[in-house]
């Protein structure tokens, strides 16, 4: 079982999360194995984004432990692309940092936008650009924070297909969204059940 030891995984044990002086949720445990996807749902402010930041290691849990193995890629409301640069140059920075994989620009409908400065892109276009950045990172674990916000129906289907392909290739996806996300084998977690 050599392979199992290096495979990506997320193990959360009895997690509680605090923002300010409010505990958002407590007693949350879950495990994600390669190929699995989990959607965290709930109303605004229930702690979906905070949970993703805990998993990413960008915030510390109030109690409990969170462990992961494998590289983590995060897409949230900030595309992390320089707004003054043309899209091609803004993405090229991340491609250089991530080792130069080619991005599926055609599939994401970004080829016509490469000359456009990022600040002129619409919300949906930025989201698609962030997905391109994520795919270029080649991370084993995808953390998607409201990935469908601002996307039209075609783009929604595209993001769902990309996530399905990622999971089929042995990746893990953790999706925080209040919108329905269509994905075979997607398990659901209603964060409101763990509200403190």
């Amino acid at each position: 079982m050599q392979g199992a030891d290096t495979a990506a995984r997320i193990v959360a044990d009895d997690l509680a999360c605090r923002r300010g002086d409010r505990v958002l949720f407590r007693g949350l445990s879950f495990t994600l194995q390669p190929g699995e996807a989990l959607q965290v749902s709930g109303a605004n402010g229930v702690g979906k984004s905070s949970l993703l930041r805990l998993v990413a290691g960008l915030a510390r849990p109030f109690t409990g432990t969170i462990r992961h193995r494998g590289t983590i890629g995060l897409v949230d409301e900030r595309p992390a692309l320089d707004p003054e640069l043309p899209l091609a140059a803004a993405l090229a920075f991340w491609t250089r940092l991530d080792g130069g994989a080619s991005l599926p620009l055609e599939a994401l409908g970004l080829t016509d936008l490469l000359d456009v400065p990022v600040r002129y892109l619409s919300t949906g276009q930025r989201k698609r650009a962030a997905m391109a950045r994520l795919i270029g990172q080649d991370a084993a674990i995808w953390l998607l924070d409201e990935p469908l916000n601002g996307l039209d129906t075609d783009a929604v289907r595209l993001v769902e297909a990309l996530t399905a392909a990622h999971c089929a290739a042995g990746g893990i996806a953790l999706i925080a969204s209040h919108q329905p996300f269509t994905l075979a084998g997607l398990t659901q977690l209603a964060l409101a059940d763990y509200a403190a």
Binding site: A56, L58, A59, G73, L97, D98
Partner: protein
Amino acid sequence: MIRTLLRRDLARLLGPNQGGAMLPVLFFLAVAVIYPFAVGADAALLARTGGGVIWVAALLAAILPLDRLIEPDLERGLFDQWALRGISEEAAVAVRVLSHWLSFGPPLMLAALPAGALLGLSGTSLRTVELGLLAGTPGLAALSVTVAAITAGLRGGAALGGLLIIPLGVPLLIFGAGSLSAGGESGLALTAAVSMVLMAIAPFAGGAAVRGARS
């Protein structure tokens, strides 16, 4: 990886879209230009006090770029993305200190030449000023980045940053301008020493501040 970060930093700090790289230099020159208007055209007085004015102008010019050193990248999530890729906040801040000095120090040293001429500094004084700026601007850049990181995300952070930089920059000012007085050569070495302390602190203080700004 460090090279990629440095390239982006420099492109951002010097890029035409930012328009900010020239601003501190122009401000610095403007101080040198208006000073003779305020104190009069007494050549001996100007030559005696000019070096000190250049140092004050350099310290004040360091305030101008504060709000674009750390906060934009923090807000846009770049520090988060770097952390996910194993690039520590300390490394990112250290690169930022280097890139900020490159976009700030040499242009300021260049601008000190016409400023020195306007103030009628002697050749030896001008040489001491230039050497002092060479020793002091890295520390000023490190201090700017540290203060920018500490005040990032605060309301009115840029104004607060200006207030923080002035007292913390006083040692540089004392030793840098002090090196101009008779027998003050050791001031240059002390300026360099203060610079090195500030540069050694900056990545850790700045990195901790960036991490703290997340929660």
